[in-house]
């Protein structure tokens, strides 16, 4: 068990989160992708904490969990609100903001 394995995992998880966020239209998946990205940073922080033998990393990760929770709250509230308004969780269905007339 070497740190590199953790690092690889972190990198992959973060990237998967990124991929999910960009490529999916379902807002729930987008939300979970964000959470996954943030969580993968937690993994990194914990690994670093372990490598450096310093508690700070863990503390930061702890704080991050709170941040994740805060974001989650707002995100979920938003999804509920959006679904209520439009009966859809498809991000592509929210395209009212158009300035120029783009010929489709």
């Amino acid at each position: 068990m070497t740190p590199n394995m953790f690092f690889l995992l972190t990198s992959l998880l973060f990237s998967i989160g990124l991929v999910g966020l960009v490529s999916r239209r379902n807002l729930f998946v987008v939300y979970m992708s964000v959470e996954l990205m943030l969580s993968s940073i937690n993994l990194l922080l914990a690994t670093l904490s372990k490598i450096l033998g310093d508690a700070s990393g863990s503390v930061i990760a702890l704080l991050m969990i709170a941040v994740i929770a805060a974001e989650a709250a707002l995100f979920l509230a938003m999804i509920i609100h959006l679904y209520r308004a439009k009966k859809s969780v498809d991000s592509d269905s929210f395209t009212a903001l158009k300035g120029v007339k783009v010929h489709d």
Binding site: V19, R25, N26, V29, L36, L48, K50, L62, L76
Partner: protein
């Protein structure tokens, strides 16, 4: 050796869960994937001997956040036809995966520059964490509360139903 096998199992679960999360059409299945990944993460924390963190992960992330998400999903109970039809989903996933590669590679390569051994320090216990939290991390800890508060206010404002129902332009 045991640690390594545990790691691989956990990693497999996490990766599988997260891939399932981003590929599944059904939201609930995605959420299950996410749940698996989160639990895996808690396991990883434990593996890294961050017990407090593992516990917090289980309690907050899994117990609160993920469950809350699933509850929301169930509450909304988006029907099949309300879910987005994503005809080019895999194309998109493939394309973005290619696009994300330099980043992944950079991140990984950079991280490998770190020391390749774990310190021999004792387990990061809640005591250590608590000490650190209330010594040098007291300011972030304090303002986290404000963050949570503002997020709460925001969430309430956004999610509550309005009494006034009148379409207005901004």
């Amino acid at each position: 050796m045991l640690e390594i096998s545990i790691f691989f199992i956990l990693a497999a679960f996490m990766l599988g869960g997260s891939i399932a999360m981003i590929t599944n059409k059904q939201t609930l299945f995605s959420a299950f994937g996410f749940l698996v990944a989160m639990i895996g993460l808690a396991g990883m924390f434990a593996l890294l001997e961050s017990r407090f963190l593992a516990l917090a992960q289980i309690m907050v992330s899994v117990g609160a956040v993920v469950v809350l998400s699933m509850l929301t999903i169930l509450t909304i109970n988006a029907k099949e036809e309300n879910l987005p039809k994503e005809p080019h989903k895999y194309k998109w996933i493939f394309f973005t995966s290619v696009l994300v590669l330099p980043f992944t590679f950079l991140l990984y390569k950079t991280l490998t520059l770190l020391p390749q051994s774990f310190s021999t320090m004792e387990t990061i216990t809640s005591k250590v964490v608590g000490k650190a939290l209330f010594s040098e991390w007291v300011l972030p800890f304090e303002i986290i509360s404000i963050l949570l508060l503002s997020a709460m206010v925001g969430a309430i404002v956004i999610a509550r139903k309005e009494i006034v129902k009148k379409e207005e332009h901004s």
